[in-house]
């Protein structure tokens, strides 16, 4: 941080200030930031959205757009000042010196050029080689990032590759000119967990191979723990804490870091033992930067005379550990990890939802006027499970596993093709929402993934909820409506005056609270939550999860929680269903899913989860290839093609038996349960390096 630029600093940010200038004046995105990244190290920057991570990245690349500017300080890369570079030297730095791996590989590649064309222009530009040599280089680098059949990939267009393959291409493109520094901007956000793990493996492998220095930006502490040596934590453009990775996770010294870690779901705790500790309030806008400590207004230990006057200087809190908090020594006095315990609901025995052999098949009538071969997409097949009153049933699986299809059938947005779906005694499998009675509609409600898209932008938050109340006949008069809306806002911990705001004025977390209030307006018996927190920042996610648990504890609703985040599922679910390509692979109580015996697919999923704890060692287990397409699925076990423990032809030809294990645990696999049980657990705590204690 404030350490003088070390001679071996490859990238030195020296009191950098970044502003965005508009017609109303300048807004400071980064007030005063200093970081030194040494050659060969892997530095991680964590922070929630809006903390200035991406701005910093673009400042390093000299690409702040027409409104951004470096108002103060220097960014020195490999001895050259980027902030003062002319276009020619900037072009030399870009690509050659440092290159970027972008967040969304779908958007980062040009859709109208083949992969080959996009790759070969890098060596042609930076090394001046001819097209043939460049193509050979591109081919080599595609082999290095483990893309099968590189020659074919070179001739393909981006849309002909999967998301994971595209991200490998983007990494290959970044590495082509042998950069000294590789900037990674959330490179695995949006990828499936097994693909994410493979990409992170690749990053680590390439780092060893090429000795590239990494600056890794992420909001995901688990990913940071996996690939970084040193970590900086950003809040509102300030670097509030910086430490070696083990030290940071073991001894967080800044209240923000500590809260952030307390919001992250872990695999060794659950809702019964731990409650997330969300950060109160929301980050202020850049224009409304508080005086003194930027985290002050949200900090439990804010002490105006000490924290709210001048910018907080950095203090050393250990070897290589710096923190910008005047009260870091008193942290334990005001930061309590068990501040508010949420007592979760106890599942009852009364059955609320039961699916029996539920299937959904899409006919892809492709051809012209019915000619040609018709194909079938099997989205759900023979789903049989149940959820009881007050229970949280989690459905996990990667994209294409059919979990959202099930949610849509449950909510009446789609019809099932076969089987039954009993909800409170009625079969809803082929009853779309418009055919359901008011009671049936009110009983099953849904919370969606993207709160921005689910609220009508032209209606106020209160109106959306009021309409649900009216529709379900819960309140009619203006006065009743207002009172009930106010009550619901109180339930989701929103200030009632927000009821008059349109969604555009609300933050993501607030919008999701409104969506939850709307879902609970009709007092549902069954809430279908389809990835309700995956679009939210970790601290907001923690608050929403706590809220769901609180509401459930009070009204005893059953929740079907659909998620790809296994750590989160570990935290809040009572029972878990693991799906792959439309079929149930394994299901059972949450603790039995996360310990042996595992279904081989679950085992691979767990091995891929990024654990936000560098002291936990995961068994190394990676799946080959990508999930196959759900069109024309194999006859036998769906997972057979990628299964690391495949027995032989029996797996391809015969559907696996549904084997019972203790505690209502079911594993659909040809390998006997007793054999499956003889594996080492995925997660093991390793000896922590010297100087780092256990997480507090």
């Amino acid at each position: 941080m404030s350490a003088p630029p070390a001679p071996d600093g490859l990238l030195v940010l020296d009191h950098v200030k970044v502003e965005y200038v508009s017609s109303v004046g300048a807004v400071t995105a980064i007030p005063d930031l200093s970081i030194t990244i040494r050659a060969g190290e892997s530095y991680g920057l964590v922070g929630e959205s809006g903390c200035g991570k991406s701005t910093l990245l673009m400042a390093i690349m000299g690409y702040l757009g027409p409104t951004g500017r470096i108002a103060n300080g220097r960014i020195v890369f490999d001895g050259a000042d980027v902030s003062a570079a002319d276009p020619a030297s900037l072009a030399r730095i870009r690509g050659r010196g440092c290159s970027i791996v972008y967040q969304d590989p779908n958007a980062a590649l040009n859709p109208t050029l083949t992969i080959g064309k996009q790759l070969i222009e890098v060596p042609m530009l930076h090394e001046g080689v001819d097209a043939k040599t460049a193509r050979a280089k591109a081919r080599q680098i595609l082999t290095d990032v483990h893309l099968p059949d590189p020659d074919a990939v070179l001739d393909r267009y981006p849309h002909q590759l999967s998301g994971g393959q595209k991200q490998r291409v983007v990494i290959a493109m970044a590495l082509l000119a042998n950069p000294k520094l590789l900037l990674l901007d959330e490179p695995t956000t949006g990828l499936d967990v097994t693909v994410e793990a493979a990409v992170l493996d690749l990053v680590n492998e390439l780092r060893e191979k090429y000795g590239t220095t990494l600056l890794y930006i992420s909001h995901n502490l688990g990913v940071i723990a996996k690939v970084c040596d040193r970590v900086g934590v950003m809040y509102l453009g300030d670097l509030v804490e910086e430490a070696p990775v083990h030290e940071l996770f073991a001894n967080p010294r800044h209240p923000y870091t500590r809260r952030l870690l307390a919001c992250v779901p872990r695999l060794d705790t659950d809702k019964h033992t731990t409650t997330f500790l969300p950060i109160p309030g929301q980050p202020p806008s850049l224009a409304g930067r508080p005086r003194g400590c930027s985290f002050g207004p949200r900090c439990a230990g804010f002490d105006a005379p000490r924290c709210g006057v001048a910018p907080i200087p950095e203090e050393p809190a250990g070897p290589g550990h710096g923190v910008r908090c005047v009260r870091w020594r008193e942290l334990d006095q005001f930061e309590k990890t068990d501040a508010e315990h949420v007592a979760p609901a106890t599942p009852g025995v009364e059955q609320v939802m039961r699916s029996a052999d539920l299937s959904k098949v899409y006919d892809l009538g492709n051809a012209f006027m019915g000619f040609g071969s018709s194909r079938q997409l099997i989205a759900n097949e023979d789903l049989s499970f149940q959820a009881n009153k007050g229970e949280i049933l989690a459905i996990v699986g990667e994209s294409g596993s059919g979990k959202s299809t099930f949610a849509r059938i449950l909510a009446g947005l789609q019809d099932a093709s076969a089987g039954k779906l009993m909800v409170l005694g009625d079969d809803l499998s082929r009853m779309p929402a418009h055919k359901r009675t008011l009671e049936q509609l009110a009983a099953v409600q849904m919370v969606f993934q993207n709160p921005d898209a689910t609220l009508n932008p032209s209606h106020t938050a209160g109106f959306s909820i009021g309409r649900a109340l009216k529709k379900f006949g819960i309140a009619q008069s203006r006065k009743d409506l207002d009172a009930r809306v106010k009550e619901l806002f109180g339930m989701v911990r929103l200030s009632p005056h927000l009821a008059r705001q349109r969604p555009g004025r609300l933050s993501g977390g607030q919008k999701q609270r409104v969506a939850i209030a709307r879902a609970f307006a009709g007092d549902p018996k069954l809430l279908v939550a389809d990835e309700p927190v995956s679009a939210l920042d970790v601290s907001v996610q923690a608050a929403i999860v706590n809220l769901l648990l609180q509401i459930q504890a009070r009204n005893g609703a059953t929740i079907v929680f659909i998620s790809h985040d296994l750590a989160l599922v570990r935290h809040l679910a009572d029972r878990v269903v693991v799906m792959y390509l439309g079929r149930v692979m394994e299901m059972g109580p949450v603790s039995s899913i996360f310990s042996p015996p595992y279904h081989p697919y679950t085992e691979a999923l767990l091995a891929a989860v990024p654990v936000p704890d560098p002291t936990v060692k995961q068994k190394h287990l990676r799946l080959e290839g990508e999930p196959p397409s759900p069109i024309n699925v194999p006859l036998g076990c769906r997972f057979a093609a990628r299964c690391p423990r495949k027995l032989g032809p029996v797996c391809d030809e015969t559907p696996p038996p549904e084997q019972a294990a203790p505690d209502g645990h079911m594993i659909a696999c040809h390998i006997p349960v007793a054999v499956l049980a003889r594996v080492t657990p995925i997660f093991q705590r390793v000896q922590t390096p010297a100087g780092a204690a256990n997480p507090s």
């Binding site: 690349m61 690409y63 027409p66 072009a91 030399r92 730095i93 870009r94 690509g95 050659r96 290159s99 970027i100 972008y102 969304d104 958007a107 980062a108 590649l109 040009n110 859709p111 109208t112 050029l113 222009e121 890098v122 530009l125 930076h126 267009y157 849309h159 983007v170 493109m173 000119a177 012209f368």
Partner: protein, 337 residues
Amino acid sequence: MGGYIIKRGASLILTLFAASFLVFAVTEFSPSNVARKTLGPFALQSQVDILYEKLGLQDPLAVRYTRWLGVLLGLKADPLQDPALGLQFKDPRGDKYFGNFGYSTLYKAPVNDVIWSRLKATAALAGIAFALIVPLSLLFGVLAGMREGSGLDRTISVFGIIATSVPEFASGVFLVAFFVVTLGWLPGTSPLDSGGGWPIWSQMILPVTVLVLYDAGYVVRMVRGSMAEVMNKAYIRTAVLKGLPMRDVVVRHAVRNAMIAPFTVILLQINFLISGVVVTEMVFAYPGFGRMILDASLFGDIALIEAATLIALTIAILTQLVSDVGYAVLNPQIRLA
């Protein structure tokens, strides 16, 4: 691709049938009838009635449509040319051949004698205009959209708006006032006839200028919008941060993507230039296709209207086919099936 074009060809023929029938049906509601129009306003009602009967105009719509179709396909003789009627309507090609659009009651000549010369005249106008509109719009659109909000962008955008919002009759009159009346450099009318002392090429300049100003202003704005959108895409950032110079970013990465959206719009201009430039043709007394359609419609010359409709429709569908194929060429994510 081959199958795709056959499929589109089949749908073209179907559309032509449907459209020609619709035009036939709509003219039912126009006052007067073919017999009256053929004989003129001073003919006796009894003469009209005789012709009415001889032409079989009392037959149901479907029968008459089939008859017209038979004439077009060369299966039946054109009834108007029957010497027994004494009308002296004569087509040098004979009265029974494929592509016989019949006899124009307005021009008192075979439709084929009237329509192709008009189409040729308009095609010349449209072709020159289109050949100027496309490169100009692409150039200025890309230049403007390349740096959104720059001085160049604003200048081009303002000129584009002005050019496209001045109606053709106004810009036509302005240009005539300046180049014809004040300077005397160019002819004020364009009858495509060098008898007045002005060579044909000089008669094309003003109509073409009016069309280019009016249409390019619009297309420039389309291209500019698309280009500006593309320049904000993440893959353009990727290209810039690869270290590519701005020229390569624009030429290699942006332009092709920016062409995708306006491509259809650009090809639609062909239809406009063929049948929608009535105003310009009127201002310059240009013997064009659009003016002919207008006259035929006002007169109720059904044979001519039918022929013009079929031709305009064929052009429209063919440009659409070209635009779909071109779209697939530009955008590899589209596959034609």
